[in-house]
Structures are given as C-alpha cells and as structure tokens.
Symmetry: C2
Subunit: 145 residues, 2 copies
Amino acid sequence: MSKIIGMRAGQLAKAADVNVETLRYYERRGLLPEPPRQASGYRIYPESSIDRLKFIKGAQALGFTLEEILDLLNMRLDTDANRTDVRKRAREKVNHIQEKIRALQEMEHALNQLISQCHGDGSAADCPILEAIPSFGTKDIDNEV
Amino acid sequence: MSKIIGMRAGQLAKAADVNVETLRYYERRGLLPEPPRQASGYRIYPESSIDRLKFIKGAQALGFTLEEILDLLNMRLDTDANRTDVRKRAREKVNHIQEKIRALQEMEHALNQLISQCHGDGSAADCPILEAIPSFGTKDIDNEV
DNA sequence: CTTGACTCCGTACTATACTACGAGGTTTAT
DNA sequence: ATAAACCTCGTAGTATAGTACGGAGTCAAG
C-alpha cells in the first residue's frame, strides 16, 4: 500500500505560519492552486505550497496586493501571451520594483541622517526626520505592478 | 491687510492627489496635524502638508501601515524618549527597511531570470518565476517596523 | 445678492484581506 | 470503539484604510 505524499491543511498552515482559513481564502482567490483531495475530501498539499505561501507573504510585506501577486505568480502560466509579452510585463514589474527599492533607500538614508544628527543622550525634541528628507515622496510610487 | 498664507482642503487634496475626506481621516489618525482654522472654521494647510502626504503615500506603497508611518513621523517628536532611544529605534527601522530592500532585490533578480530564460517569441508556457526563486521568501519579512 | 463651488461635521458605506463560527464528517491514538 | 483532534463547507464577522452622503454654513463671481 502506497500512501499519498503531502500534507494536510493544518500542517501546511503551521509550516507557512498562516491561518488554516487563509488557505481556503487563497484558493478562492486563485493564489493557491486547488490541491488534490483524499477520498474523504481532505486537501493534500505538496511541499512546494510552503514556498508559495512564503512568497505571497513576502510580497505582501513589500506592498504588493494579492491581485498583483497573482499576476506575478501567473506570469509563466499565461499561455495566451507570447514570450515577447511576458518579457515586456516582467520588465515593467522590474521597473516598479526598482522604484520601490529606490524609495526604500531614500528612507534608509533619511533614517541614517536622523541617527547621525541625533547624537548625544539629551532630549529627542530636535531630531528631524521628514525635514531630513525633502526629496522623499516627490516621485510617484503607486501600486500598479 | 495681510492675508494668512496657506491652502484649503480641496487645494491640498488636489496637490497631493488624495481625496478630501482622506485629509480628515488622516487628521483623526494623527498622521496630519490639525491645521489652523479660519474664522469660518475652514482649515488652512501649510505648503509642507503636500510633502507629508506624499511621504505617507510613498511609505504605504512600500508596505508600511498607517500605524507604522505614524511611528516614523513622530520619531522626532517623542520628547519623552531620549536620543539614545531614538537612535535605537531608528536602527531597528533601518534593519527592517534593509530586509525589504533585500527581498525586493531577490524579486528583481527572479524577474530578470524570467526575462532572460523566456527568450524567443513562442508560447510563455514554460517560463518560470516561482521556480526561478527557490530562495525567495525563506526569510521572514513581517510588517513590524 | 444670489448662485455655484467649496467646506464643515457626523455617520455610514465600501474594498481588501483575512478570521471566526458552527454543524457535520474523518482520522488517529488509546 | 470512542474521544480528541482534524477537516469540510457556507457564511458571517473583523481590521485597516479609505470613500461617500447629506444637511448646513461660507466664499467669490457676476
């Protein structure tokens, strides 16, 4: 008797540090493909689901919406699109990501300014942050991927 | 007769590309300081409000919550905290930002992989993305600032 | 001196992304 | 074989971040 390899909802949820309900939610949203079922109806997830969930969580923390993440994940599956299209869309996403990186670097720089300007151990009343970064936020960073 | 310099809600909203209602919402949340009022009760915003709003919008697009942004903005105003504390908190935020940058760079790398692997002009069926980034998402990036 | 655009306020509604609930069936350890 | 633990589903509730509404007051142009 060969046992089907894979994990159940609870195990996956624990491994990826998400709520079990979130798995169903992502399945509905198309972020997590419908896994095979046991005779009982129980879902059996492959190990790779853990990485997929971590990818989703990571991308979210970077300001991508589930919609955008879906788009990222499905890029390779869009068989209607030809490779020229995929490359074009990928390049757009790269640009968008570079914008985000640039903005984060400005923020990092501003905080480092704050750290160096805010020396000694007195009151913090005069330590600036927004003032340290007049350039930040002047370029539009929207969430379009 | 000297006129009070500043802009009204509608002008600020337009300049910063946000909804007028959002201004009131941010005011309630403490993200936008309560501006002075005209005799009529109309708010008069200083020019600097535009930058503040753009900062907020930019930070949001990078995955920061309003709560976290408030924390960033108020860092310099926390007169209870001493400079040693502010520096410590700023360093934590810098680390967090560096994590985000690193993750975005991985994503960028993965997309560039996709672009180079997905050459020619045939079907996009076999162009990978998640597969191109086995390492992505293995390190936790939560939203704690 | 009126008309239209703008602003005020409280409150209610919406979208996104979960998260919980409850009734019932399944699996597993004792 | 039975109880604890787990899973199924639809549906309902929550948190965050706006966004809209509507009645009333204000301001500027004609």
